[in-house]
């Protein structure tokens, strides 16, 4: 078994129109920029995939990564907790124009729904959001005298995540706070594709240090010096690059 895929293009080749795609990252930390840009390349070359539902904490920043996907028109719906950023214009404009749907989810509920999707828990109760607009229409129940909202699991067809080291069996480690949503998204997607800064043979990761066990990962693709979304935005980058 060797889960390595040789190219970014091959890694994202199977994502169809209409797919639900979880994308790791919190702001720029953990954003799998190269995987996202490979998906944009494919869309620009073939017109596919489009009509995507994207699950991420945010809704893009500037004109790279998820913002660039939205800008190109690939995204039908965002499921996120905080569609704001230093430069959220791409999402904001599309949203206010009614061209993109938004499902706003409290951040902890978003995380727990994803984890539930990965753990085979179709529904759970949380105190979060009780009595607020974000709980409207959801079942409520009391336990031990306190009121809770029922929330449903969240699953995806694909997860695109960024990891630090990955072995050929798919075991992953992360870099600092770039970990964020990646481990739970890896659990909740039918197919998880990880770009890794370093690909190693089995044994290259201490069994105690594995954060995401390989069972949750379907493919790894090595990207040795990944771009940091924050750096790209500070350099006012656009993807695809604006021709001079």
């Amino acid at each position: 078994m060797d889960k390595r895929i040789a190219s970014l293009a091959a890694a994202v080749a199977g994502i169809p129109d209409g797919a639900t795609v979880m994308i790791g990252g919190f702001g720029g930390s953990g954003a799998p920029i190269e995987l996202i840009h490979a998906l944009i390349d494919r869309y620009l070359a073939t017109g596919s995939p489009k009509d995507l539902t994207v699950i991420n904490n945010n809704a893009g920043n500037g004109h790279v990564g998820i913002a660039a996907m939205i800008e190109q028109g690939m995204v039908r719906k965002m499921i996120c907790s905080f569609p704001r950023s230093a430069d959220p214009r791409v999402f904001t404009e599309r949203y206010l124009a009614g061209e993109i749907e938004l499902e706003l989810v409290p951040q902890g509920t978003l995380a727990e729904r994803i984890r539930a999707g990965g753990a085979g828990i179709p529904a759970f109760y949380t105190p979060t959001g009780f009595g607020t607009d974000l709980a409207k229409g959801k079942p409520v129940a009391d336990f031990d005298g306190r009121s809770y909202v029922q929330e449903r699991w969240l699953k995806a067809d694909f997860a695109l995540i960024k990891a630090e080291t990955g072995d050929t069996l798919g075991n992953l480690t992360y870099r600092m706070a770039a970990r964020n949503f990646a481990p739970i998204m890896a659990m909740a997607a039918a197919r998880t594709i990880a770009q890794v800064s370093r690909a190693v043979e089995p044994g290259g990761i201490d069994p105690e240090a594995v954060v995401t066990p390989g069972i949750f990962v379907d493919a790894i693709v090595a990207v040795a010096d990944p771009a940091q979304e924050e750096d790209l935005n500070r350099a006012n980058a656009h993807y695809p690059q604006v021709q001079a």
Binding site: G117, G120, N171, G203, P207, P213, G214, I215, F216
Partner: protein, 222 residues
Amino acid sequence: MTKLSNAQIAWRAAQDIHDGAYVNLGIGFPEMVARFQPEGRQAIFHTENGILGFGEAPAPGEEDWDLINAGKKAVTIKPGTAFFHHADSFAMVRGGHLDVAILGAYQVAQNGDLANWSTGPKGVPAVGGAMDLVHGAKRVAVITDHVTKDGKPKLVERCTLPLTGVGCVTRIYTSLAVVDIEGGRFVLREKLAAVSLDELQSLTGAPLHLDGAVADLTVPEV
């Protein structure tokens, strides 16, 4: 009567495990399946207590009792092993991440119901992870003698013992046959050549249906 040994049943079950499969083997007899991985295929074994990709038993005297499987037997690590806690371990199980779970059985019903944890209200009940596995793994298979020690069918119309799971088993490897469960019926896929269809039916508690040819169940000495 001619029948397969437990090791032979385990061997047969092992032939259906594809390369790269994530597999959980029940405590005891099912653990034997790991010995018979076909050449050129690599299965990755999961144990409920938080190890993925563990290796074989260590040599006697080399045991580390912090490195055990769900049956509390010592195992070893190998390149690519991962440790994790119990909630993550059962997220793997319940979340549908295991390709195959292979368990023992007291009874399997034609609708896929499994009874393998309790022989009734006497004694101390114990369930372990069986109920989670049967509703979690993508494919739940049973390996078992075709009949009980006193000759009663284990493949039955309805389980009379307390259930482990409802409608969960899809294939049964017995000492005499390989039987699929499809549409609430037993479908015979393979049987020992030395056992006639009538004889097999007489040892089975519900009708064995045919869906095309029945292959000979051929297993080497192991």
